[in-house]
Symmetry: D2
Subunit: 191 residues, 4 copies
């Protein structure tokens, strides 16, 4: 378990938004990743989720899908830094790029651009029967699209949804100042 919980500062990120440590931890634990899992990371950004997923599944494979070239370069740089080899980096705007992937044990959706309903339509048949899907949302619209999709497909999706707000106490001289991270919704397929 010393392979989960990498500090945010250890990733190269430039100006690309990154899922913060506590949200990564909760998302990955809720995804219940087995050592041989097949994992998609959709909207992989800096690759921080992908890299931690890859370390949890040393005998598995992570498919990191990201549309921007900047992101792709960061993912590659971070993977090299952490010596992660069980990861394939795919430059595409999901749901493009997903068709040929093997069935998934865990699907992580961090960034969905404006195509979340399509992405959910596409990945649902690719999720194994007991597979997990974990979604991080920062907008109300994305949360709602996800909840509506899961409610419409209640034969496949029983979901849990939480909002997580992390505030860091930043040490400034003799004080600890509260600095809020933005709250994130985490939606997870229960079963």
């Amino acid at each position: 378990m010393d392979f989960l919980g990498i500090a945010d500062e250890e990733f190269i990120r430039q100006d690309v938004p990154m899922t913060k440590q506590e949200i990564r931890i909760l998302s990955l634990v809720k995804a219940q990743i087995a050592p041989d899992a097949v994992i998609y990371d959709i909207g992989a950004g800096t690759g921080s989720l992908s890299i931690e997923a890859a370390r949890l599944a040393p005998k598995g494979e992570v498919y990191a899908i990201e549309r921007s070239s900047e992101g792709i370069n960061l993912i590659r740089a971070n993977a090299a830094n952490f010596a992660v080899t069980n990861m394939q980096v795919i430059q595409a705007e999901a749901p493009d790029g997903l068709a040929d992937l093997p069935e998934a044990d865990a699907i992580l959706i961090g960034g969905s651009g404006s195509r979340l309903p399509e992405i959910l339509e596409t990945v649902t048949p690719k999720l194994k029967q007991t597979g997990r899907l974990v979604l991080n949302c920062i907008t109300v619209q994305t949360l709602m699209q996800c909840i509506e999709f899961m409610r419409q497909h209640s034969d496949i999706y029983i979901y849990e949804a939480i909002q997580v707000q992390v505030t860091r106490l930043q040490q400034v001289g003799t004080y600890d100042m509260a600095k809020a991270n933005n709250p994130i919704y985490i939606v997870k397929r229960e079963r």
Copy 2:
């Protein structure tokens, strides 16, 4: 009541930290400011609290205490902008500058530097028997100093303490993105 609840953008603030609108509203309502109230605003910063207090107490007087010249200039500029005249601006590092003030109906402490215990010692005898004291804290240490002082002086202070976390939904295209403000503790003398 259209005189309370000024938008944050209407204040000139440069780089000086400013109490945000919702915290101003809650602090001022909890201070139960009467039209003829005598009010201290300690660590007045940009003067945003002072100005709203002055508008709630048109027949009263606000004493805005602030140590930095930058702050003093901002307070004056903001007071001029809102045509507030029942306010005296005092450049001092509290508790300096408080000795000669008349007894207070309401004391607002937004910024205390590192001298909060001294400030509380100094203002307590200047607070009218039914006067209100409202403190905003962003650090755990300040909160704790305030709570400890009030618990030690439980003959004078029955307090209420809350933490308020406001998140703005920022409209970005077709989305509403959650952007967190830092959480603030508000401690108030109940009676």
Copy 3:
């Protein structure tokens, strides 16, 4: 201003859900209620918002709309307790009961049952041009319906949306224990 900010304990509430003090304060200040305002309180529950609104508008009139008999009785009991007379209590499930009301300066929607889109359709033409509408939501669906309606009617609605999370520090012996209230979304017509 000593007429706003009644403590929660001062209202009779039995088991009816009640908007908590801080949310009442923010909602009423954001509604910018003038002394002669015409106000609707839709889904009035215990009447706590109505009563504070009525005190802010002593020359105005509050219309408290509530469907349940239990609520109606509580509103009447609370109004009597606070000696509020400028309030009419209407037993109806909104948007029923709204047709004959005069144009509104401020519309507060605390409880909407499952009929929020209809309510918004009905009240929009009854809102004065510069009138305020303030909505409190505890569910994602209600928030979303409100945001979608306002985005579709962007000629009438420029909105501000925030989420407010209040945590009370409950005094237990020598400790102050954090006890969270449920977070509430507040959506407000800016203009």
Copy 4:
């Protein structure tokens, strides 16, 4: 990793307060528990943290310290339910009961009663040089005692402190209603 993240409902808890799932996950990941770790769980309550720690350290040993008989019985019942055998249950009010334990790789402090400073004094020399200490606090006083202790022993403790607020979206008919958990401070020895 399917051994971390047990649902709250799977533990027997009666009326004993229990660390909630997300806080357990974050605390245990931040404690970076190796398979052969020696772990103390101080103020073990229902044993939920102990059991997840024991599963993360199948070749290690967990010492669950709890003062109440009710807690001790729950810990035993939960350990039996999850077939956890690498755990010793010690009925004592910490720091009592800690003297004879072997050096620790990870120390979890969930409940400290009123003896936190003593507990910290006692466990500090028992923590291995690279060992982790993770503390969960619900009161400001406990947080402050922990921070002050760590600041006073800055040769041993570099700390990270966060506040985590989890809100569950409870599915009620066609709605998802926000229900807040109480916010928890997590303080962790960085190194």
